[in-house]
């Protein structure tokens, strides 16, 4: 008889996020509950948590970029990004983000997934540019709309990355797929796998690109933002 109790940890995570408790608290409570219900003793759970946290320090190391971004913002980087967009005639938020989507997908497909990202490009460059372009076409944005434009900029970075990177064959997820199939007796080359990321990448470009243009049109129509 399988012990289904470790799944209670998942329920804790779902409930915790739904009720908006502090996520760090939710995650640790879920980890301890899962470990205990899975038959580990308390000390072993704390050890497992500590070991996994320590092994994953490389994830948080990237925050060392913040002094550079902060310093450039002190000298007007965001304002420069806005000014640059304002010099381009006919620039709209929708077109700008479609171009960024394509740029992110193509560079990721060539293995350059580190060329974008939220602290590096979205906060200092893409989001201010998108906001400036939206303001140029629709006038001053209502706060709610400005939030949506910023959120859409971050979303576009994620979608461009996720549905571009797998076209590059030497990437962790492709190597993982290869490893899983190989251990079951199905040897595949990374290239055989990565070509099959192309159809989804094309769908992602048209679906998200279409949504970006529709979002821009909707901003103009809803009238909450005072038009020029």
């Amino acid at each position: 008889m399988t012990n289904y109790w470790p799944l209670a940890g998942i329920a804790i995570v779902v409930a915790g996020f739904a009720f908006r408790f502090n996520p760090l608290l939710v995650v640790v409570v879920a980890a301890i509950a899962t470990g205990l219900l899975g038959g580990l003793d308390f000390v072993a759970v704390i050890e497992a948590l500590g070991k996994a946290f320590n092994d994953n320090r490389y994830i948080s190391v990237t925050w060392i970029i913040l002094p550079v971004i902060g310093l450039l913002e002190r000298y007007g980087l965001q304002q420069r990004a806005r000014a640059l967009i304002e010099t381009i005639r006919g620039a709209t938020m929708g077109k700008l983000l479609v171009i960024y989507l394509l740029f992110r997908q193509l560079t990721a497909a060539l293995g350059m997934k580190d060329i974008g990202g939220h602290p590096q490009t979205v906060r200092p460059l893409v989001a201010p540019m998108a906001e400036a372009a939206a303001t140029m076409t629709h006038g001053e944005l209502a706060e709610e709309d400005a939030e949506k434009v910023k959120a859409m900029s971050a979303a576009t970075d994620n979608i461009g990355l996720f549905f571009g990177e797998d076209i590059f064959f030497a990437i962790a997820s492709i190597l993982l797929i290869q490893g899983v199939f190989e251990s079951s007796g199905y040897p595949l080359t990374p290239l055989q796998l990565s070509v099959w990321a192309i159809p989804t990448a094309i769908c992602a470009f048209f679906i998200h690109g279409g949504r970006l243009l529709a979002f821009d049109r909707r901003l103009g129509r809803n009238g909450r933002s005072a038009g020029k």
């Binding site: 490389y58 948080s60 550079v68 580190d114 060329i115 602290p119 996720f162």
Partner: protein, 320 residues
């Protein structure tokens, strides 16, 4: 050889300075909470490798205790005003973009050169960590360029960095914490339980339903774990390989590649994928911490349907 440990020492120094400046910042009512939080992270970077697993676990509990009881505040170190920034952006012009580009260019060009030219044979960097190490080098280069060119006050980079770090707050360690949760889930056998459940509900003789359940399992398990990498081995072992490839004779390359992408659609919908979905909301100072996810769901759902269709058509109809 330059290893990841060098980068950890660098990060430790940065977080230690943030901790110290936080403690001295009388403008922040919760300054000791911030100092303790960033100080513990500095300790983790400096000494985490030497500490026992249990001591690291206690460090994790202390971090969570500080954040979970709301002891982190936001600082507001002195900086330039909006009108200053407009004037400075006029003065320095588009050259301001160059230091920001130094970082990705160093990481990308360096990685390509290291992997495809004789430069790689020098063995200068720890294996498979070259991109992250080159990223660190890029940060130092960009900082050097800014200091020489812009001549800011000495403390300006760390103070501006601290402003951003405090605005992100506890979300900064959430991705690392979720990776730790994944480790505990694996140890408790959560993956094999899910795989067993998913494998038990496949009807016989219906390829399309089997494809649908495989893709649904990938997306849902990714939503739970926050990472398609955790979901893939479980779903491939439960359904992908035994049912889709072996029973129904599907194309393994299509099932593997597109199945993973069905999982990525789940990544777009979950707060568990914190570094993609929650951290940017904090970084962009959005009021709604789920704001980024809300914009992504409308792309994720139709794209997931595309993935189901691609597997069914290319993996079965065309293949057979």
């Amino acid at each position: 050889m330059i290893t990841l440990d060098y980068l950890y020492i660098l990060a430790g120094i940065v977080f230690a300075i943030w901790a110290l400046l936080s403690a001295l910042d009388t403008g922040n009512g919760k300054r000791f909470g911030n100092a303790a939080f960033w100080g513990l992270l500095a300790a983790s970077f400096f000494f985490g490798g030497q500490l026992s697993d249990f001591a690291n676990g206690v460090l994790v509990l202390a971090l969570v205790g500080i954040a979970g009881t709301g002891r982190l505040g936001r600082s507001d170190p002195p900086t330039t005003s909006l009108s200053d920034r407009l004037a400075l952006s006029e003065k320095f012009g588009n050259k301001l973009f160059l230091p920001a580009l130094v970082i990705p260019i160093t990481a990308v060009v360096g990685t390509v050169a290291y992997n495809y030219t004789p430069f790689g044979e020098t063995g200068l960097f720890e294996e498979r960590r070259e991109t992250l190490i080159l990223f660190g080098i890029g940060v130092m280069l960009a900082l050097g360029v800014c200091m020489v060119w812009l001549k800011p006050p000495m403390l300006a980079p760390v103070e501006e960095g601290r402003r951003l770090m405090d605005s992100i707050g506890w979300a900064a360690v959430l991705p690392q914490m979720l990776a730790a949760l994944g480790g505990v889930f694996a140890l408790a056998g959560v993956g094999s339980i899910i795989g067993e459940i998913a494998g038990g509900i496949i009807p016989e003789n219906n390829v399309f339903i089997a494809v649908l359940i495989f893709c649904l399992g990938m997306a849902l398990f990714t939503i739970i774990m926050g990472n398609a990498f955790a979901a893939f081995p479980v779903m491939a072992a439960a359904i992908g390989i035994p049912v889709l490839v072996e029973d129904f004779g599907g194309n393994p390359a299509v099932i593997g590649a597109v199945g993973m992408l069905a999982g990525f659609c789940g990544t777009l919908c979950t707060p568990m994928a914190a570094n993609f979905n929650i951290v940017p909301a904090a970084l962009l100072e959005l009021k709604d911490q789920y704001g980024v996810i809300r914009q992504q769901v409308g792309t994720a759902i139709p794209l997931w349907i595309c993935n189901v269709v691609i597997i069914y058509v290319a993996g079965f109809l065309i293949w057979n």
